[in-house]
């Protein structure tokens, strides 16, 4: 457990440091965030056509309210935490890769729910928006990461047992 903990902290610090570099921001974080805004908007327009995305901003044409998806809300950090936790935990590489791919999907699915819910919460009540944005959703996303990791850890084979299949889709975590 100590080895896992130390490795997790080191890997996370390195990944986070890399994320802050201009190169990573330009080629990874900005496209990721813009894609998140576009996907969220395309879902929203199924029931509310007066919504548009421009870069990382989602705007209502009806009342002009807009949200800008900033660092901390784009799910990048949550993804890095999940990646660091999976890299640090002793498991076959196949399990790490499959677990990470499915885990990222689970985290991002919930993150889309976060973005859309905040977009409408902000139009309804700004105080509720601030509360949900600054405190509640931050905790829920980390809870999602923890649950995905727990599901994954349960599926990791013990030493000498490589027959256990990789993690199943953690639908539970995104619900």
């Amino acid at each position: 457990m100590i080895r896992f903990f130390v490795l997790f902290v080191v890997v996370l610090a390195v990944l986070f440091g890399l994320e802050l570099t201009p190169w990573a921001q330009q080629w990874f974080v900005v496209p990721w965030t813009n894609a998140l805004a576009a996907i969220s908007t395309s879902i929203v327009t199924m029931f509310d056509p007066n919504v548009m995305a421009s870069g990382k901003v989602i705007r209502s044409a009806t009342n002009g309210f807009a949200v800008s998806i900033e660092a901390g809300c784009n799910g990048v950090e949550a993804t890095l935490v999940l990646l660091a936790a999976m890299l640090a935990f002793p498991a076959p590489w196949r399990h790490k890769v499959v677990g990470f791919v499915i885990g990222v999907l689970a985290v991002q699915l919930l993150n889309i729910v976060r973005v859309i819910s905040l977009f409408y919460l902000g139009q309804w009540n700004f105080e509720a928006f601030e509360w949900a944005h600054l405190y509640v959703w931050q905790g829920l996303i980390m809870l999602d990461v923890l649950i995905v990791w727990l599901i994954w850890v349960r599926r990791v084979p013990r030493d000498g047992d490589d027959r256990v299949p990789p993690a199943a889709p953690p639908a539970l975590a995104a619900s």
Binding site: M1, G17, L20, A71, A78, L140, M142, I147, L150
Partner: protein
């Protein structure tokens, strides 16, 4: 539901979360008082030339600095407010996780987690204050603060790490470290499911 222990755990965590968030928000000035003491000590010892006083207003800490906000002689002094809630929302998450498991000695786990999180809350608050005076304030203020380029980079990293990573990750890590027996039981139950 094949994953019953985990499913039950998640449901109970989600049930505890609103309660924990409510208690945390209402009692924040009391719950965060040790963090406030820690921040005050760090400010006095580490940045005594920049900070003359740290005052608490509910969950907000006001750093009264020795810096002048403008060029006028009677321009007063700069005060920086930092919301401690921004760096402590992991406390209710940790409480909900711990109460959902409620192992023997759960209150001890609560105390250990709480104590473990306090320095990281202080980290976030102090880094937020430093970011304000070293990076985001007017050039007049940042020049008075006198940080070098390297120090400003370190402050920026400390602030980003202390606001984007630590508040959410520390409670999860603290919970994992204080609930290893529960994790082992979860893995064992998964083994039984896969065998049978």
């Amino acid at each position: 539901m094949k994953d019953r222990p985990l499913f039950r755990f998640v449901v109970v965590v989600l049930a505890w979360l609103p309660v924990a968030f409510g208690v945390w928000y209402v009692l924040a000035p009391i719950i965060l008082w040790p963090a406030q003491l820690l921040v005050t000590a760090i400010a006095r010892i580490g940045f005594g030339d920049l900070v003359s006083n740290v005052e608490a207003h509910g969950a907000t800490l006001s750093f009264v600095t020795t810096l002048k906000p403008g060029q006028a002689a009677a321009g007063g002094i700069l005060s920086v407010d930092v919301n401690m809630l921004l760096y402590s929302f992991g406390l209710p998450l940790f409480v909900a996780l711990t109460l959902a498991v409620r192992e023997r000695g759960w209150w001890r786990a609560l105390l250990i987690g709480y104590a473990a999180m306090l320095p990281f809350i202080a980290w976030g608050v102090v880094a937020d204050f430093l970011k304000n005076i070293a990076i985001t304030s007017s050039p007049l203020v940042t020049s008075q603060a006198g940080f070098s380029a390297l120090e400003r980079d370190m402050i920026a990293f400390a602030y980003q790490f202390g606001s984007l990573i630590l508040p959410a990750v520390v409670p999860a890590v603290a919970w994992v470290l204080t609930h290893r027996a529960f994790l082992e039981r979860l893995r064992a139950s998964a083994d039984r499911l896969q065998r049978g």
